[in-house]
């Protein structure tokens, strides 16, 4: 919350002292989008956030301009964006507080996200990262196809899943068959491979973590590590 407050104060000042304050939506589309998202986050909890603001000694001019803008953004979002949208709950993919987020989807696209007021963990609040979930899913920079970089090449090349997975399976098998240690120097059965290593990931779901280590251990890999170690 505190971080969000500071962030917002920063934004308010940035806007308030900018000569073209009232044209900001046109001039700075990204910023406007940020506002919509941030202040929509929290849903009904928005009132709480606003109340918190009032405690801060910021000039009333800034606040009143701000409030006006806020309500219009809220109304806009409610009417156009989430009308008839499917609503599901998720948990923030960033830090480990475990804030709950409502995701609105329409036509196969996420159209809005907001802090889940029902969660006793965050009661609708989100920090800047959780507030940005919308942009994480609607993101122009995602890689959408498997990529391959051949030895000594200086570029990525798009490949098919089938080709990539078959090639990886072949490399895993070749390396495993070549370097597998059945017995160590003392003659003890160890059934391990040290020539393949794995790291990751604390960003996966529990179910994925479980089958991932199951797979790696079935291959005999012992260099199995992830974020918890660093």
């Amino acid at each position: 919350m505190i971080n969000l407050e500071i962030l917002i104060i920063y934004k308010i000042f940035k806007l308030a002292f900018c000569s073209e304050f009232f044209k900001f939506i046109k001039r700075d589309y990204k910023l406007a989008k940020y506002y919509k998202n941030t202040f929509k986050n929290g849903g009904e909890k928005m009132k709480l956030t606003r109340r918190d603001f009032l405690k801060l000694s910021i000039s009333s001019l800034v606040l009143s301009s701000f409030s006006l803008d806020l309500s219009s953004v809220k109304a806009y979002a409610k009417e156009l964006r989430i009308k008839n949208a499917k609503e599901i709950t998720t948990v923030c993919p960033y830090c480990s507080v475990g804030c709950s987020i409502i995701v609105y989807a329409k036509g196969g696209k996420v159209v809005a996200t907001e802090g889940d007021p029902d969660s006793p963990i965050n009661e609708g609040s989100l920090c800047p990262k959780g507030s940005s979930l919308y942009q994480l899913v609607n993101n122009p920079y995602r890689v959408l196809k498997p990529l391959y970089r051949a030895p000594y090449s200086d570029t990525w090349k798009e490949v098919s899943w089938d080709w990539a997975l078959d090639r990886i399976a072949k490399l895993v098998k070749e390396t495993r068959d070549k370097y597998f240690i059945h017995k160590d120097e003392k003659g003890r059965v160890v059934n391990r491979i040290e020539a393949i290593a794995h790291v990751g990931s604390a960003a996966l779901d529990n179910e994925e973590c479980y089958i991932l280590q199951k797979l790696m251990r079935a291959l005999g890999i012992v260099y199995i590590e992830h974020q918890a170690r660093i």
Binding site: K86, K129, Y152, D184
Partner: protein
């Protein structure tokens, strides 16, 4: 933060922030103290001394629920007696022989105790003698915190040694990323035990974990030393299942100890059944030999992994949802190591510094043989599954949309890989194919149903069975881990999560909002391991008769008429201690909170050592041992350079995070909103230091360590001040580590602060000391 502010407002809580730099949290604190990075044990040791000298500990708790009254053998010696190390230190191997780290036993084999706490060799008195030299004056000289502020903080913290007062402690990587990381946490655990703050509402020592599911990924043990549910991975010396069970199933002679780990055989056998299904039988040790056995004298930890890779020992590598080229201490070493691989598979949402290392700074792709794959995966709202937060709360996430383009959920990628590897072994044969061919793996043909996995994690019966008078049939879900068996009649992927998906359904998806205790436990919101217990060691929150220490805020209490506990799920249904019950610390063989930590590699009590890279030439408390003599140091290669006391690097550096970014920034640098708020790497420094160097806020500067250098934008600030350490001025600078050369594309973000940090590690965990290192700064 919201809840901290509420506690301040409603209950008059005091917020104390101790941090090398004034943070956003510090802005809300009642007291803020700027501490020299890496000197926490001096500060905490002084606090332990203060609590014991002034008898401010919670005596009833300490005598009954901790090992403070236990008598240690006379052969045990403190660093006080041996110039800075405990008895058993071998200077050649830099390891301890722990044979003197033990308690005197009575005729029944139970430790001798002195409930009056007067015996000079009882743990409490040894602890007092150990910290006798940590006076407030010394602590001030070492940490740079003024003496009066130290005493002010000590007084507030020690005041929570009363039954109705409590303190909670929150830490993150600022404590773990040190060569004394584990002992930092232990020091606070000792303080909380002395003050009786473990098991209480609002008490505890809390790790603020940085990744949404780092709790869950640790519980499921994507780590070299443990199998799901914290079962040790077998070593070469654990030659068969019988030996494994013997080596890792503790026995206790303390009659009042529950000694929970006595159930280990049930958990390992059920895990093997989950791994190998019908192939796992009593006559083949449940396929125990399929599990890889690690070399008992070798570490496979993160730093060792990249050291081995740098040495060319590793040929193939998976970086699944991780960016080690930025997140690892001494990142240049990692980047060079990646170039020695034959092949690498990366799985991520975005390209990153690891996947594209071959075109990174200083790399010539034409000379790099590594074959690299980038597999695009689904984001969290494009798949279904659970994650576990810092409070052990497993919450279910639903799918909102399909992944874009050809992106696939990670579970589907794993499924595809497994099926293809298996098919190759079926077709061509190969070396020891059984663990692959016999793996119990039926999660769906193409699409993976993660609820099938969640059910396997919970556990199910593999045969009809009567347990505790209840009849279960084959295929039925196990109600919880109390029902697991060691005869092969149950399969369970992770005993800790047993109870998360019983016959009744998915407990992790619950959204009940009742709070019957009024303490904010919300027992029907999602599901918490173990057994939905919200506060661990809650039996320590009551007296010997089951009466809460703090009757105003009971976590549990004994209802004598009904002969049962009310409140949170108790640590076992047994009655209170004085009524024939058990000791509260049920996971410990002796049943009590451990102050004398003989399991640690570097000593049973935390001891102050300087960081490996420090501005001092000597350890002010133990001049003979400047830094932790057991610290893991890689120094064979030129790439592992250190500035142990080097005039070329006179400034203390530290790293941290900002709210707007996350980890190496792959998941936040690609968000225009967040990047706009924090666009590039900066280095914070004091006004005094900036003036000395002629640096102004906004200047581009070069920060250098022996391992690497990078540019950063200077922020000249009041938030960091020069410190007075042993009468001399010490300057500290701090950098966030969220940036990397690969994105933003134009390089405007800078690169990772881990180019500067040293690959030296804690002797217990091998977590690198990224929070203190020595640097120099010049104007660019």
């Amino acid at each position: 933060m919201k809840w901290i502010m509420k506690a301040k407002k409603e209950r008059g809580a005091k917020l104390i922030v101790i941090d090398p730099k004034f943070s956003r949290t510090a802005a809300k604190a009642d007291i803020y103290a700027q501490i020299r990075p890496g000197t926490d044990i001096a500060f905490l040791g002084g606090l332990i001394k203060y609590i014991i000298d002034n008898e401010l500990y919670f005596k009833d708790y300490v005598v009954n629920y901790t090992d403070a009254p236990f008598i240690v053998v006379p052969e045990f010696k403190l660093p006080d007696d041996l110039d800075g190390v405990f008895s058993g230190f071998d200077p050649k191997t830099k390891k301890y022989d722990k044979s003197t780290w033990k308690f005197e036993l009575d005729e029944n084999g139970v430790p001798k105790k002195d409930p009056t706490l007067k015996h000079p060799r009882c743990v409490l008195r040894l602890l007092q003698r150990h910290f006798a030299r940590y006076t407030p004056e010394k602590v001030s000289e070492i940490t740079g915190i003024p003496k009066d502020k130290i005493l002010e903080i000590y007084e507030i913290i020690a005041s929570t040694g009363k039954p109705n007062r409590v303190m909670t402690e929150c830490y993150a990587m600022g404590w773990t990323q040190h060569t004394t990381g584990v002992q930092n946490i232990r020091a606070m655990a000792i303080i909380q035990l002395l003050l009786g703050n473990i098991g209480m509402a609002g008490g505890g020592v809390n790790a603020l974990r940085g990744e949404s599911n780092v709790q869950g990924s640790t519980d499921h043990c994507i780590l070299f030393h443990i199998l799901p549910g914290y079962l040790p991975t077998p070593k070469a010396t654990d030659v068969d299942l019988k030996t494994y069970i013997k080596n890792y199933t503790p026995i206790t002679k303390e009659p009042k100890s529950l000694n929970w780990w006595k159930h280990r055989p049930k958990y390992i056998v059920s895990l093997l059944k989950a791994f190998y299904g019908n192939y796992a039988k009593p006559e083949n040790e449940f396929c125990y030999q399929y599990l890889p056995k690690r070399d008992e004298n070798k570490s496979y930890a993160w730093l060792n992994l990249f050291d081995a890779m740098y040495n060319g020992e590793i040929k193939g590598f998976f970086a699944w949802g991780q960016n080690p080229a930025c997140s690892t201490a001494n990142a240049n070493k990692v980047r060079e190591a990646l170039a020695k691989l034959d092949w690498m598979v990366t799985v991520n949402l975005w390209d990153n510094e690891t996947a594209s290392f071959w075109k990174g700074p200083g790399m010539d792709p034409k000379k790099i043989k590594t074959e690299v794959f980038f597999l695009p995966c689904a984001a969290s709202v494009e798949k279904e599954g659970s994650i576990t937060n810092s409070g052990r709360l497993a919450q279910w996430r639903y799918k909102a949309v399909e992944p874009p383009g050809e992106c696939k959920p990670d579970a589907e990628i794993m499924n595809e890989l497994y099926k293809r590897i298996k098919a190759l072994y079926e077709k061509e044969g190969g070396v020891f194919p059984e663990p692959i061919l016999h793996l119990n793996w039926n999660y769906g043909d193409e699409k993976v149903d993660t609820t099938i996995i969640a059910k396997e994690i919970n556990g199910y019966f593999t045969a009809d069975k009567v347990v505790k008078g209840k009849k279960f049939s084959k295929g039925q879900q196990v109600p919880n881990f109390v029902y697991l068996q060691d005869d092969g009649s149950t399969a369970c992927g992770n005993w800790l999560y047993s109870g998360s998906y019983p016959e009744e359904g998915n407990m992790m998806a619950r959204r009940g909002k009742e709070d019957p205790t009024g303490l904010g436990l919300y027992p029907k919101w999602a599901w918490c391991w173990p057994l939905n217990r919200r506060i661990l060691y809650n039996r320590a929150s009551v007296d010997l008769y089951g009466k809460p220490w703090d009757p105003e805020r009971p976590v549990i209490k004994w209802d004598a008429s009904k002969k049962k506990w009310v409140g949170d799920v108790p640590d076992g249904p047994q009655p209170p201690l004085a009524l024939g019950g058990v000791l509260p610390f049920i996971m410990k063989p002796l049943g009590v909170g451990v102050i004398f930590g003989k399991g640690r590699a570097d000593g049973p009590f935390p001891t102050y050592y300087e960081p490996v890279e420090s501005p001092l030439s000597k350890n002010p408390l133990y001049p003979k041992y400047k830094f932790n003599p057991l610290a893991k140091i890689f120094k064979a290669k030129p790439v592992d350079k250190l500035a142990i006391h080097d005039p070329r690097y006179p400034i203390v550096g530290t790293t941290y995070r900002v709210t707007e970014h996350w980890q190496t920034g792959v998941m936040t640098r690609h968000m225009d909103w967040l990047l706009e708020l924090e666009p590039q790497i900066f280095v914070e420094m004091s006004k005094e230091f900036a003036q000395e160097k002629g640096i102004k806020s906004g200047d581009k500067v070069i920060v250098k360590s022996p391992r690497g250098e990078l540019w950063a934008i200077a922020i000249v600030t009041e938030r960091i001040k020069p410190l007075k350490v042993l009468g001399k001025t010490v300057h500290v600078v701090g950098l966030p580590w969220h940036f990397g050369w690969q994105w933003p594309k134009d390089g405007s973000g800078g690169d990772s602060a881990n180019l500067l940090t040293p690959d030296v590690g804690d002797p217990n965990t091998t977590i690198p000391e990224t929070k203190v290192f020595m640097v120099n700064i010049e104007k660019a």
